[in-house]
Symmetry: C2
Amino acid sequence: MQKQEPTYLKAITLRELDDIYSLKNDIQNKIILILRITPLAQKNIDGLRKAIDELYSFIKNFDGDMVRLGDERIIITPPNVKIWRPNNKLK
Amino acid sequence: MQKQEPTYLKAITLRELDDIYSLKNDIQNKIILILRITPLAQKNIDGLRKAIDELYSFIKNFDGDMVRLGDERIIITPPNVKIWRPNNKLK
């Protein structure tokens, strides 16, 4: 039996709109991202909206998923990782 | 080529010490857990310590991993998911 390749999980911080290029790279490499968004939110709320929109389109094209985690973070998953939603809502 | 089984990710809240039984079950089912620990911390800090110790021993026997995520959460991963640590520290 072939050994399954591990999936990696990165918990990182979104500080600049330009950070999304390396995040897209991580998404293409099928890395699970737990992204702290408050530093960019406090600095540039329009930049944050643009970053989230771009990442959302990118992840949807890629058959991945994205959800909010509390007030400070979002979770982005590659196609092989499914986010469990009780009643369509994360606690 | 055989299709790879998806890994599930659950973001849930630890409210009672007894919640660890269902969490151990999730760990055995190789589910990634993002666990909000503040509700138990505020109610019963000794209970929280006991819960974390028990989950840590359990996950280590199972070849999984556990890290803190900010002040409110911990991440628990099954053996097939590796947590990326830049300089051994999550931002």
